[in-house]
């Protein structure tokens, strides 16, 4: 039991929290990627949804309605006492798009994890982030048994804009995942600058 109040002058730090989404098809390595950099074992949260596919806390009088659950996993990186980054692995299926909407709100950016053997599994995520104007990078998870393609081939296949970062990665390796995350945030920063200072036409 906790009786003590936090002593005066020692107010709890209120960290700024940020999030990056990790999207991609089934089994592409989302949870592995989150686990490679997270300071906690990836945790799992569940949303309860109505059959109609809306999160239940949005509607009144849900009692008695049929519901289903969907799981998301997430990790945490404390960058400083007052700056915490959360990574959310999003369910790959299209029918959970509304969860992406919630997660994407206020997200600083996203990683689309791709597997060259099933590139088409990444189309939905690429499309989604393009449409919502959410800065994202594509990371090709290099499974040993997959044929390596040159980055340009992947870029063309995914029809990526030239400024979208594309990296080869190993979702199991911390350094590799760090590079991916840095690429996302750098891309987000460039975009933020451009939007803040509209290009001067000469």
């Amino acid at each position: 039991m906790v009786f003590g109040r936090s002593s005066r002058g020692q107010r709890p730090i209120e960290p700024v929290t940020l999030k990056i989404l990790v999207a991609g098809g089934f089994g592409v390595g989302k949870t592995t990627l989150v686990g490679a950099v997270s300071e906690i074992k990836p945790l799992r949260t569940e949303e309860v949804l109505t059959e109609a596919g809306r999160p239940v806390d949005d509607v009144a009088g849900v009692e008695g309605k049929t519901t289903t659950t969907v799981a998301m996993d997430f990790g945490r990186i404390t960058l400083r006492d007052d700056l915490v980054l959360y990574l959310f692995g999003t369910p790959g299926q299209d029918r959970f798009w509304f969860l992406w909407d919630e997660l994407a709100q206020g997200a600083l950016g996203a990683v689309v994890l791709a597997d060259t053997r099933r590139l088409e599994d990444s189309f939905a995520a690429v499309d989604y982030f393009e449409r919502r104007d959410i800065p994202f990078a594509v990371a090709v998870n290099c499974f040993e048994d997959a044929i390596r393609f040159p980055a340009e081939t992947v870029r063309t296949a995914l029809d990526l804009d030239p400024e979208v970062p594309l990296l080869m990665c190993d979702a199991r390796t911390r350094e590799s995942v760090k590079d991916v995350l840095v690429a996302v945030v750098e891309h987000a920063m460039i975009r933020a600058r451009q939007q803040r200072e509209p290009a001067v036409t000469t």
């Binding site: 906790v2 700024v16 929290t17 945790l43 949260t45 569940e46 949005d58």
Partner: protein, 131 residues
């Protein structure tokens, strides 16, 4: 929750999805429109005046547990949901109650449609590189 006899695992089912009523715990209440939707990464911080929540008869064991978890270390809605093994929506209802009773407050993450500050992004990059 520990006091209820149910195993929370039965809520989870990868595919078809079980038919469940997790909101029985919140007596069917859902977060109301007047409450802003609590973001998954909103941090729940106990009010310094929160005293001893366990002695408060108006609180359920879940409310008390949330206050005590956050007192040990402030944490996000997502972490509370994972730690308590409760659906996020249910945790939102409980935290909403606690906010209304002024036992906790929550941080507001970057509002939607607003970009994080360029300086914060730079700090994130530096922080990641230093990991």
């Amino acid at each position: 929750m520990s006091q209820a006899g149910d195993d929370p695992k039965h809520w989870f089912d990868g595919d078809a999805g079980p038919v469940v009523r997790p909101y029985a715990m919140t007596r069917g209440r859902t977060s109301t429109a007047t409450r802003h939707r609590l973001d998954l990464i909103a941090i729940v911080i106990p009010a310094s005046a929160a005293g001893d929540p366990a002695g408060d008869r108006t609180l359920s064991p879940e409310h008390v547990e949330i206050v005590e978890l956050c007192r040990a270390s402030p944490q996000s809605i997502a972490e509370l949901a994972a730690g308590l093994d409760l659906p996020v929506g249910v945790v939102r209802v409980f935290v909403g109650d606690l906010v209304e009773s002024e036992l906790v407050h929550v941080t507001r993450p970057v509002p939607p449609a607003e970009l994080p500050d360029v300086n914060i992004l730079r700090e994130v990059i530096n922080g990641l590189r230093a990991l």
